[in-house]
């Protein structure tokens, strides 16, 4: 018997980690990505579990998949677009199955709080023919995770658990139990199952189809697919976080809540349709459920994405607007009185130095994803493209097919974590295809964007162990790049000169910045000597403001001032203050 040990308030991500821990998970791997990151960060705190950051999602899934084939209870987690990267192992692991168990978590980002697209990853479950679970809150996230790991083993199948941002980051009450310790299952070589050559895979495809039939039976009677009786006028079919929103708007309706939504429980829907007049299908993302429901040719009136939007979250206010015609009241505040507070680069962010040079040299920039994507905004406006991780380097190669864009007037910029994730092969492409062009690697030695995770450039693992630190210069040289240089990006002249030199090189050149992220422990621990502006000397030219450092603002007099609490003393502002003015100086005492 598993002992219950109390209640706690956990986020969906923490609840997934807790559920996996309680289910006896042995191994977990992931590449960070909002809103999934905290799953591995939480799992890493349990000493019974081996939790690791992988260089990218494909690697994470392959390691987790290998662990499952080897007999471990295992999981991998990623944000929605991460599953695109991992799609190759996903589809084939579906054939190979597991010896232990494999849970694949995809955290979708309805509303695009921090993503570049709003794809609905439920399609992956159908395409890869894997069972799909959709928890509505933290409590279900915990219990479903445990259950998923059990059926993964029982049905010899990877299982997909899909959350969306509000489930991942929303917090709710859960019941905690103790961990069930399960030894790693014995490994046996099995050529026919684990070597996917055509002769084996043809047989395995049949197995997959048979397995789907059994899983469909399970979905039809599953405790996760429940009918909640209510008024017979309206029947709501829903899944995931949308269930909560629907309950706010239609508290008395009859519900079919689908927690196990693929293979789709057709019979369950038929049974439900007899209980209600009108059916409203409420789901975030695409018409995944709706597609199946409409196939049944029911006589009920059906409302779904013919009225509700495909875009954004199905928040109560959205449901009221589209289904009840209750328009949300217009905001009553004069927009001049609401201040823009877009995310900004941090005070003293080392990315500022290089983007100042890029902006002043008026370059076209094939950009990438990370904190530095913020340089696409004012005051730098220094990014032309940002598509997906790694697409800076390869994107530059493509852009240069237009003679207007050359290695001299265009560069690619990419962060260290992103370079390791998927930039290396693009750089190989550049060298292999004899291009001329410059790649800037913004090596702040951390994965900053997602909250400062360790990565292969940092020398530490997720669980805090020392490890080797990649030598980016040696790596780049080994690829065949002939011009490689590291610059101190807090020195603006050195940075700007090096960038110019790199652009003039006749071949592939790689410029690597060296200052660590201002939020890393090493920087936070270091003594700080902030700078100040001598108001009597300041001529209000705005040069320091144009750096875009949030520690600098325009005072009432129009002259600049530096907030000594925020300033980390990088000194970039003193370098842009005109030589004849020199109004910015270091305060010679520690803040």
């Amino acid at each position: 018997m598993v002992k219950v040990i109390g209640k706690a308030i956990l986020s969906g991500n923490e609840a997934i980690a807790r559920g996996a821990y309680e289910a006896g998970v042995h191994f977990a791997s992931a590449y960070p990505g909002t809103p999934s990151t905290e799953i591995l960060e939480s799992l890493a705190l349990y000493k019974e579990v081996k939790a690791e950051w992988a260089p990218n999602e494909k690697v994470a899934m392959e390691v987790a998949g290998g662990a499952a084939i080897g007999g471990a209870i295992s999981l991998c987690a990623q944000k929605h677009v991460g599953l695109n990267v991992a799609a190759d192992p996903l589809f084939s692991l579906a054939y190979a199955g597991v010896t232990g168990a494999l849970l694949i978590i995809t955290a979708d980002d309805s509303g695009m709080h921090s993503s570049q697209n709003e794809q609905d990853n439920r399609h992956f479950a159908r395409a890869a023919k894997l069972p799909l679970l959709e928890p509505v809150n933290s409590d279900e996230a915990l219990r479903m995770t445990k259950w998923a790991l059990k059926i993964s083993h029982q049905f010899d199948s990877p299982v997909i658990l899909r959350t969306t941002t509000r489930v991942s980051h929303g917090k709710g009450v859960v019941t905690l139990s103790e961990r069930e310790e399960i030894p790693i299952y014995p490994y046996k070589k099995n050529f026919e199952k684990y070597v996917l050559m055509p002769s084996n895979a043809r047989k395995l495809h049949v197995v997959v189809e048979e397995r789907l039939k059994k899983l469909k039976e399970l979905a039809e009677s599953s405790e996760w697919n429940v009918i909640e009786d209510g008024d017979s006028e309206i029947g709501v079919i829903t899944s995931g976080v949308s269930y909560n929103y629907a309950k706010e708007v239609f508290p008395n309706a009859t519900y079919l809540k689908l927690g196990f939504s693929f293979p789709f429980p057709m019979e369950k829907v038929k049974e439900f349709s007899k209980k209600v007049k009108k059916i409203i299908i409420i789901e975030e993302g695409d018409d995944f459920i709706e597609g199946y429901v409409r196939q049944l040719g029911l006589s009920n009136e059906i409302i779904g994405k013919n009225i509700l939007p495909y875009c954004g979250e199905m928040l109560p206010e959205v449901l009221k607007e589209y289904l009840l015609n209750e328009k949300v009241e217009k905001k009553t505040i004069n927009s001049n009185h609401i201040l823009e507070r877009p995310p900004v680069l941090c005070p003293g962010c080392p990315h500022i130095g290089i983007f100042d040079a890029i902006k002043k040299q008026r370059l076209s920039v094939a950009g990438d994803i990370g904190c530095y994507t913020l340089a696409a905004l004012a005051p730098w406006n220094a990014m032309d493209t940002c598509i997906c991780m790694g697409a800076s380097i390869s994107g530059l190669s493509g852009l240069m097919q237009n003679p207007m864009l050359t290695g001299n007037n265009s560069v690619a910029v990419i962060g260290d974590s992103t370079f390791i994730h998927s930039g290396i092969t693009s750089l190989i492409d550049m060298v292999y295809n004899n291009r001329k062009g410059t790649v800037v690697i913004l090596d702040n030695r951390i994965t900053a964007m997602t909250g400062n995770q360790q990565n292969p450039t940092t020398g530490l693992t997720l669980q805090g162990n020392n490890t080797s630190q990649i030598d980016l210069e040696a790596l780049v040289k080994a690829i065949g790049v002939k011009w490689v240089k590291r610059v101190n990006n807090y020195n603006l002249k050195e940075t700007s000169d090096a960038l110019r030199e790199a652009r003039e090189f006749d071949g592939v050149s790689v410029l690597i910045t060296s200052q660590p992220c201002a939020l890393t422990e090493e920087v936070k621990r270091a003594k700080k000597y902030p700078f100040e502006i001598d108001e009597s000397k300041c001529i209000a030219c705005g040069a320091c403001l144009r750096l875009g450092c949030p520690a600098i603002s325009k005072g009432e007099s129009g002259k600049s001032k530096i907030d000594p609490v925020y300033c980390i003393g990088c000194g970039m502002c003193a370098q842009v203050c005109p030589p004849k003015v020199q109004a910015i100086h270091k305060i010679e005492k520690e803040a």
């Binding site: 709710g172 928040l315 900004v344 005051p379």
Partner: protein, 191 residues
């Protein structure tokens, strides 16, 4: 029992998430179902941050709709105006009398709103300004300004006992700072 909705607004780094999780824990301590939600990620980079706490017998949505918040706690003066439409007509608004000027002022040409500008929108609303930095300095630790603010709204949340708040604080802050945070909370209660 009706669900109660509380909205915390402010700027990344002000301790909004911490304050809302203390409240959520207090709700659990008092035997309620509770949902809390905020969005991580881009918002952390100096942007505006909002966090919702909803409690009651059974709570579904983790988000708060416009015109439905029972209480708004704004940690930063100008942020009040971004969220004020979320307050219901008989709700209570607590404003921390504190300014954080965004870099956008450097290029949008907007000016930071005066207190009178903020108040011009509050004619029919029950509200209170508290200078929590000043109050925290009286206690000798500026960092507990957010716990003071939590104390001020705790007075308005009658269904959650003071004891539940105290217990939640003890569970949520580093052990060295428990006494200071309890003092800060009680100071808030008295304001």
């Amino acid at each position: 029992m009706k669900t109660t909705s509380i909205l915390f607004a402010g700027i990344g780094g002000q301790g909004i998430i911490k304050a809302s999780s203390i409240l959520a824990t207090a709700c659990l301590n008092s035997g309620f179902d509770v949902k809390q939600s905020e969005v991580h990620g881009m918002a952390q980079r100096g942007g505006s941050v909002v966090s919702f706490v909803r409690f009651g017998e059974k709570v579904y949505s983790p988000t708060v709709e416009q015109k439905t918040a029972d209480i708004i706690l704004s940690f930063e003066k100008s942020e009040t105006l971004r969220w004020i439409d979320y307050l219901k007509s008989d709700g209570f608004l607590l404003i921390n009398d504190y300014e954080i000027r965004p870099t956008s002022l450097n290029y949008t040409g907007k000016t930071y709103p005066e207190r009178s500008t903020v108040e011009s929108y509050l004619k029919e609303i029950e509200y209170k300004f508290v200078n929590s930095t000043e109050e925290a300095l009286k206690l000798g630790d500026v960092r507990v300004f957010n716990t003071i603010l939590l104390g001020v709204i705790a007075k308005k949340i009658e269904s959650i006992s003071i004891e539940s708040f105290h217990k939640a604080i003890e569970l949520s802050v580093p052990s060295k700072t428990i006494q200071m945070n309890l003092k800060a909370f009680d100071l808030g209660l008295s304001l």
